[in-house]
Amino acid sequence: MLNPALQRRKSGRYFRLFNGYFSLVWEALCRTPALARWPVRQVLLKQIYFTGTESISTVSLVGALIGLIVVTQINQLVGRNEVLTMQLLIWIVVRELGPLLTAIVIIGRSSSAFASELSYMQVNGEIKSLRRMAISPLSYLLVPRVLGMTLASAVLTFYLQTIAISTAWLISKLSLDMALRSQISIFFDALQPQEILASCLKSVVFGMLIATVSCYHGLRKKTAATEIPQAVSQAVIRSLMAVFVADGIITVLVF
């Protein structure tokens, strides 16, 4: 068992960490008017391209495989039951796996990239150089990353869900001869606005959390290059933790 002093120190550290994340989200939201500046918009476009466009092939593959795996398991479980199959597909892909798997792909691709890029800038004195040119690192580096990743997360989640569900329809048609038209009609009848809302909310919150956590660990003060791998691994692990915690909270609140 941990001694009380160590426990207090640990809880203090987590409190500082959460405080740091929330302060950074708040800073990013308060500084959105910085998007009026052309260089900030340019960074935003680069981030959308890097996090969104360049992830399309990975997300397509993950989406198709998830559609295939999920519908195969459902068909094994319920047989040729169109209504139950579509309902389960909504529960699994729309409510949970769509936002969650997109977040995991984004963490794998971009969280480590954000943290290492910003850490390198920190160690290399580039952030200090920005400050000395009266360019706020929070406006120039944080705002476009948070907004870019949030936007990319929302769009990629929708894309992954579309690919997964289309694949599931196709597999059901090929393996169990379920008519495509009837599957689509049952699917949209079963889909509730609450489910669309939860999915959108999760994708936006996950994107914002991953960007903030990664930027936080990247922008923390560092003096040596040996601290960069530590920052990267902390960014990845804590982004994953933040996404799972947020998923739990949103699921409990919405459903």
Binding site: W38, M121, S129, L130, R131, M133, A134, I135, Y140
Partner: protein, 207 residues
Amino acid sequence: MALLEFSGVSKNNITDLSFTLTAGEIAIVRAATAVNQEEIIDLALGEAEPEQGNIRLHGQPLTKSAPGHTGWIAAHGGLINNLKIWENITLPLWYHGQREPANVEKTVTHWLQTLGIEPSQWTDFMANSPARLSTEQRKVAGLLRGLVQAPSLLVIKAGLWLEVAQPVQDQWNTALEKFVYAEKNRAILVVAEGAISLPWKILKDAI
């Protein structure tokens, strides 16, 4: 006319620093240590606030409220590695919304010529990333960024001249003098650490 005024400024190891830099002047402030050198640069750029005393630019307290009025040239360029050289050079201008795009190109061309860079090299130089440039080329890019920004006060870290051949140094010094004399309300403050041989007067020594 006083352009930059330090009056009884104290911050960490710096105590009671006072000097006046007048418009149309290039002058050197020599710090005793690298830490003090960084402190003076931060103070002169409004990045740090003095614990005591005050700093005035054009008679007004130096704050970050006038971005673009101060410019900065780092010892090794101080470039952002994920931007091309052209993006690096124009970053402060676009960020602070100081210039029309057509004027920027004209100004960059003017300073490229003044710094003696061959026109045949301009395109490659501008399209390159900092990591692919030599140390001297990175210094030129940093110098160019400061000159193109055309601030009232240009603060230079004296390491800029280190390991640079004398003819190149002379060319840079001429460009800096042209920059200061081109307009009335400009001055350059060189912040050095240790011995340095530059053709300008030393305002303060061994701070």
